[in-house]
Symmetry: D2
Subunit: 377 residues, 4 copies
Amino acid sequence: MGMVGGGLDAFIGAVHRRAAGFDNEIELVCGVFSSSPEKSKATGLALYLPEDRVYSSYEEMIEREKALPEGERMDFLSIVTPNHMHFPPAKMALENGFHVMCDKPMTINLAEAKELAQLVEALGLVFGLTHNYTGYPMVKEARDMVRNGKLGKIRKVVVEYPQGWLSKKEEDTNYKQAIWRTDPSKSGAAGCMGDIGTHAENLAEYVTGLKISELCADLTTFVPGRLLDDDGNVLLRFEGGAKGVLHASQIANGEENSLKIYVWGELGGLEWHQMEPNTLKYKTQEGQRIIRPNVGDLSASAKAHWRMPAGHPEGFFEAFANLYRNFAYAVKAHMEGKPADPIYDFPKAEDGVRGLAFIDTVIASNQSETKWTKFIQ
Amino acid sequence: MGMVGGGLDAFIGAVHRRAAGFDNEIELVCGVFSSSPEKSKATGLALYLPEDRVYSSYEEMIEREKALPEGERMDFLSIVTPNHMHFPPAKMALENGFHVMCDKPMTINLAEAKELAQLVEALGLVFGLTHNYTGYPMVKEARDMVRNGKLGKIRKVVVEYPQGWLSKKEEDTNYKQAIWRTDPSKSGAAGCMGDIGTHAENLAEYVTGLKISELCADLTTFVPGRLLDDDGNVLLRFEGGAKGVLHASQIANGEENSLKIYVWGELGGLEWHQMEPNTLKYKTQEGQRIIRPNVGDLSASAKAHWRMPAGHPEGFFEAFANLYRNFAYAVKAHMEGKPADPIYDFPKAEDGVRGLAFIDTVIASNQSETKWTKFIQ
Amino acid sequence: MGMVGGGLDAFIGAVHRRAAGFDNEIELVCGVFSSSPEKSKATGLALYLPEDRVYSSYEEMIEREKALPEGERMDFLSIVTPNHMHFPPAKMALENGFHVMCDKPMTINLAEAKELAQLVEALGLVFGLTHNYTGYPMVKEARDMVRNGKLGKIRKVVVEYPQGWLSKKEEDTNYKQAIWRTDPSKSGAAGCMGDIGTHAENLAEYVTGLKISELCADLTTFVPGRLLDDDGNVLLRFEGGAKGVLHASQIANGEENSLKIYVWGELGGLEWHQMEPNTLKYKTQEGQRIIRPNVGDLSASAKAHWRMPAGHPEGFFEAFANLYRNFAYAVKAHMEGKPADPIYDFPKAEDGVRGLAFIDTVIASNQSETKWTKFIQ
Amino acid sequence: MGMVGGGLDAFIGAVHRRAAGFDNEIELVCGVFSSSPEKSKATGLALYLPEDRVYSSYEEMIEREKALPEGERMDFLSIVTPNHMHFPPAKMALENGFHVMCDKPMTINLAEAKELAQLVEALGLVFGLTHNYTGYPMVKEARDMVRNGKLGKIRKVVVEYPQGWLSKKEEDTNYKQAIWRTDPSKSGAAGCMGDIGTHAENLAEYVTGLKISELCADLTTFVPGRLLDDDGNVLLRFEGGAKGVLHASQIANGEENSLKIYVWGELGGLEWHQMEPNTLKYKTQEGQRIIRPNVGDLSASAKAHWRMPAGHPEGFFEAFANLYRNFAYAVKAHMEGKPADPIYDFPKAEDGVRGLAFIDTVIASNQSETKWTKFIQ
């Protein structure tokens, strides 16, 4: 793969590289790691890349890689730049025949997202989006339990995502992550809702298989002077009648990365917490079962996303690696002209479109005095 | 004390009696335990009451007890009937000079609640309401930490109360608790929101010291044929700018009695869970502290509501007993013409009024197409 | 009941009184609450006892109560004095026909314990011992699961009881509990092992139904100048081949009252923790089930020792109350000439003898250079 | 690096390869992955190794790699064969100037371990041993808290390691892991105690900085027909007076991989659990603190072994990768003639010797009728 973004000082680039390399299916062969050519070179050097495959711009990279013989050039492009720089390289890569793995959110606005999705559709290429929390095996198990009717018809979904790291005005310090995430020109129209609210939305729809049909949002910017929302509370209604709550925050003081989901149906309920990702609770009025990777009878999908014996904790990197591995399998199937195996699923362009539509909808709802706002299509 | 309601087959009567007797401050001396005189007699007998102090109606009890010499007659009336039967005995007791301890919600509608509150105010009597969850020592500690500024200005409150016991149409079986709680004529205008939503509302306001100023509610009756809501999701706004979420359910399949509260302020956050009531989590960006009864430095109030050495779990009964003991102290202070000690606090008539106003507000909001509904005064 | 010991400043007396009164089966009618007649009177007054039933010595109490007409005199004696003062009043009470409920350990040495047990046997009276941790409903459930073969043949038992409250030399302060518990003349030959090691031993034998056959102990006094052990580690062997570990400590800094038991058999394992007493974990290689009071299908015994709906935590007092209630039922059955219902079980004289034998065995083992010491009979 | 063992069907080889590659410091360049040349070739192919660097025997590999020019040949050998095949390749590699990373236990008996340790010492090469549980950041933090006196003088250590996977006679099925681990000729003199007891021993000594001085062991083979112990309980005494308990099991039905350690000192206590590795509990009589990676003020060492923002769980692979990365740093320092940075520590030959000595000591103790057996040097 080739990479855009992810210089040595960027946190997420290293995550993507570790995730990509984890299962020995993907090799980094080229990249443009920074808008500064010096930094890009330095990163390439540190990553033991040959000098001639560290480029100065994504345009250069795509052109020159395309000129290389098949088998030698990169097979796909991984995009790990700030949000506003997802669309241009993604578009150019697709148009030049490269598959794309893109950090979320897919783009900085819904129009771009739709354009990319149409391109993917039209060209038949593989497009992956790193809504990484759906890569956990217990999330796969949860989705499969819902699918298989273990919960009955779903009635209620609560998904919550409190973080505390922006409790103060970190963007006034030298904290790079804070700076671009609170800057509308780089992050998009939403702050907290775009950064983590979309993860919550994606998780809720993934696990339940239900689409949000309308919502009612109350967004807040608690830290004075901040330009984007740092907190949001949302009532949800799903197609088919399920109800729900989504709340996310970057000012939930003392919280780390506490994404949780609860799903209740006519027959039972599920509970999952990202910070203890290897435990899934299944409750009915008859009792509670603790479901754990590699213990007892699990779905084929849960098994396919776990590497270790029971009790050897896998975490964030392994879930992320599941996305990359599955994406690599899909690329390989594409090369071989075969259909991708659905057990190795990963978020795709349509998830990205939905994420941007979610952002637009919560912003519209937040500005509206009417209770319900239809989910924007 | 004297008791109205609480026959042998009524669950909550025994809770009140155990709670009242727990600290050896209160003695049951008379009662009318059922609308059926036979059942009332049988209960009185089982409770070793003298036959002449088991009455056939609350009217008879209040009149005859009043006729007894002071020191011999009951000092206060405990009301544990279904909701629609709170107001009449409470009113008559107050008008005859008896203090009243009343199960929640205070009455079946807001008008009655206000009338009682005015009566209490006018007569200067002691009125207690069993919003029992505020009796836990770790809830006292939480409130005191907020009061003392440990969390800074409060920004966000999430209070959730999922139960699963009404996931099916239990009111069609012989399940007495289910029958009256889903019957509007006995329970009031709200089901889930009245029964447990008000506990959540009371807890949120108690811990934070903030009043809800407006809200946006989405109530649902999931079980076909049920007459009242069995689930509700509510966005909250508090005076002073804090935001929040309240959700409660009786159809959250597999949940027992899972009341939880999260409060986040500018300096830190708190988390408390009723099902593990002796643990309070205090989190800041610097780390997390586990606060436990009788360990380390606690507020005077937390200490005053715990009886055991550390690690000897107290639970629901003990929290309930705290309310009764504190109420008894207030009655004693009233008898002695002294002010009540504020450390021994308990929910009062104004909390009851607020609970009924909350019910009316969520129902109004649920029926409204406008996003925000002002909290009804 | 009558009570020996338990003055106002004694912690355990109030526990016993609350436990005894909890289920409305037992009334305190007389007592001698202190070796100081003034303190005894003051306690009796505070407990609203008639003056003439507050006595100056247990001898006086037993004699004068015996002289009262049946139905008026106490039915049994509750003994809550320090350990060295259990035997004399217990013996005299039994010899005068009173049933006895005795705090643990039963006596200060094995000879006394055996003498009492023989007396109980000979007289056919009811004798209860407050190994209160077996009163928890989830402990009953655990025992029944073992009995019913859910775990298969038991292979391994680990029981641990760390406390930290004697990490410093508290007996040099004014801390009454610490003073007598570290004084061999009042506490007996063992410190930590007598005070809490016996609870652990009793719990292990109760849950598994197995008797310890031999053991290997390493006791330590960590706090300089202390006269009794404050820590002990013990290897266990049970009749029938199960193995185990018991460790207990009063110097496990930061621990509250952290009694835990793990039992593993050929088919599954159990885990229970006193500080979260309403959760029992049942694990097999196929998965884990969380067992909770009043949820799903429980043993009749677990149901008979729980009062509340699911999710309303009961704790230490309620477990203690279960012992008193069951004892009261046995006394009532005795009065009526009926056999006691085995579902309402409680620790008896033979458990007390075993506790003292355990103490003697660990002390002998600790002094021995041989690995295994047979459990003293 | 080069690798011995770790064919495609061997679980631990893939763990080592992922761990080695995780931080982009180490590249697999050659290997002999199986005693069957075909299997070895197949594995090499799957790993994208050049055919000429997949060897048929470790002897061949060491010789031919040594013949390659520096910079091209492997820098060190990773040994992931069953226990009995650790010593021969390790010895030959060292004698030919290659550094060695070896799976634990180091060898199949103490004599071999000592011989290797002397060789390492004599040759000044880098030798690492994968006692991987000490690679977790919270274990580093625990060790540093002890070192820095946060617990005061250590009094008591409890380390427990229950697993349930050998509850039945799995070695009679086709389960490869079970077969060699229960075979004395491949596993060594101990079963459970060698496989996981040594991890527990290593962890206890690592965290406390104390050496076990004598012990008393009770080993059992619960599964009929099994040749090695599958369970063991051990009393520990440490140099300096601390006491402890170590118990480990492979027949603890329903347990996954539940390594836990408790350490109590004069000032406080620590608790850590491998299955929730990112939480360290620090308790004193004043309260409990939850210590988490990247939250608040941690030791430099804990920080150096964590890659993610707070709340993004790292697990087994990342801890394992920490060992490899630290080993790689030591190899690099060796190449550059510099001392290794002590912050990047990893288990070494002396830990391996201690592990084998532990095995010999528990076996000797198990066979002895004397209580205490000195730790064999």
